[in-house]
Amino acid sequence: MEYALILVSTILVNNFVLVKFLGLCPFMGVSRKVETATGMGLATTFVLTLSAVSSYVINEYLLTPLGLEYLRTIAFILVIAAVVQFTEMVVHKTSPLLYNVLGIFLPLITTNCAVLGVALLNVQEAHGFVESALYGFGAAIGFSIVLILFSAIRERIAAADVPVPFRGSAIAMITAGLMSLAFMGFYGLLRL
């Protein structure tokens, strides 16, 4: 039950993108096409879960025992960068098909705040191993869902008669704002 709550909370109530403001750059940048958005979502889900778990391990078995909490940021980002780069190289070599689908997004993920954010929030909320993994996974699913929905809306807006100054990123921002407004409906859900 508690695990289910973590998922519901990260996907809907505290959606990373629309409520917590994490991972916005890829959210705006890779949402012009549903297909690309789906690829980005998949890639992020993979990396996010993996890095949530690895940073948990690093934190629990390296930093905390040594009393080096203040080095968390450095250690985590190092983990993330390495995971991302490694994944990219492996995918690139082993499956050109998968690389075509996911590969081009991988470098963007290092700089996705959500990834580091999840690692840091896991520590802050004192999540255990499973919780950390679920938190990362839920965050990534929440990210992917809104990314895909957003890209479908943007595809539609692309043919709309938007006033000139608002064409492009401005109307995309407004749309994200209205999506975030809709997500206000989940405010107060799960009285945690």
Partner: protein
């Protein structure tokens, strides 16, 4: 498969290691220079809050280092921190953490300052999820409502008037929002009742051992929790302690 050039691998590895060592070195050096101040800052924030709810009380200890954990139905939770203010070793006031479970959208966390006579010295909301713009008038930053508790006790007003006006009590509700104030009033009343019941035990709590330093990891506000949270006070259970 490409032929592996071991030299390249070693160089890569060493380079990365070198950068890491230098970077960490610099950070560690900065850390050593700021460590003490940061620790002090943490205490100061907590101290400020406790001081606020014990306003006007004359004490000579540092309540931040003088804390215990208590739990009770009436306080709405277990393992809640309580800070003690002492004058010449005698407890003259306590800052109790309390939780109102029946807010409009979940728990409302309070810090209730009560002096030894059972009179309220101050109340602050330290965490809630009430509707912005409606229920959040209980925050001291948004309205003065919370100050109406100052100086009150279980006899002022009498216990049956410890309700909001709509329910026949003396405390104001907000137009359009009764639930939130109702919950807060009830929680404060319960905290007073708890204090009355446990006054002896609370007032007799021993001072901390010499080296018991309280280091509370400040909770990093996750995000501007809709309205940027300005309250750094640790939530019950969320605090980390190194006290034995």
């Amino acid at each position: 498969m490409a032929r592996l050039v071991v030299r390249d691998i070693v160089i890569t590895t060493m380079l990365l290691g070198l950068f890491a060592a230098i970077g960490t070195g610099v950070v560690a050096w900065v850390h050593s220079g700021t460590e003490a101040r940061i620790a002090e800052n943490r205490l100061a924030m907590t101290r400020m809050r406790v001081t606020q709810v014990l306003e006007g009380l004359d004490y000579d200890n540092d309540p931040v280092t003088d804390h215990h954990r208590v739990g009770d139905e009436r306080l709405g939770g277990h393992d809640l921190p309580v800070w003690l203010a002492r004058h010449e070793g005698e407890v003259v006031g306590v800052a109790l953490s309390a939780i109102a479970p029946d807010g409009y959208s979940g728990d409302i966390r309070l810090l209730v300052g009560i002096d030894a006579t059972g009179t309220l010295r101050g109340v602050r909301v330290t965490g809630h999820r009430e509707t912005p713009g409606l229920g959040d008038d209980i925050e001291v930053e948004r309205s003065d409502w919370i100050h109406t508790f100052r100086g009150r006790s279980l006899v002022d007003p009498p216990i049956e008037l410890w309700r909001v006006r709509r329910d026949g009590g003396v405390f104001d509700q907000f137009t359009g929002a009764t639930v939130t104030p109702r919950a807060v009033v009830r929680a404060v009343r319960n905290a007073l009742l708890y204090f009355e019941e446990h006054a002896e035990a609370l007032l007799a709590l021993p001072p901390p051992e010499e080296d018991a330093v309280l280091t509370i990891e400040p909770i990093m506000p996750e995000i501007p929790d809709h309205l940027a949270p300005t309250d750094p006070l640790p939530e019950a259970g969320g605090a980390e302690e190194s006290t034995p």
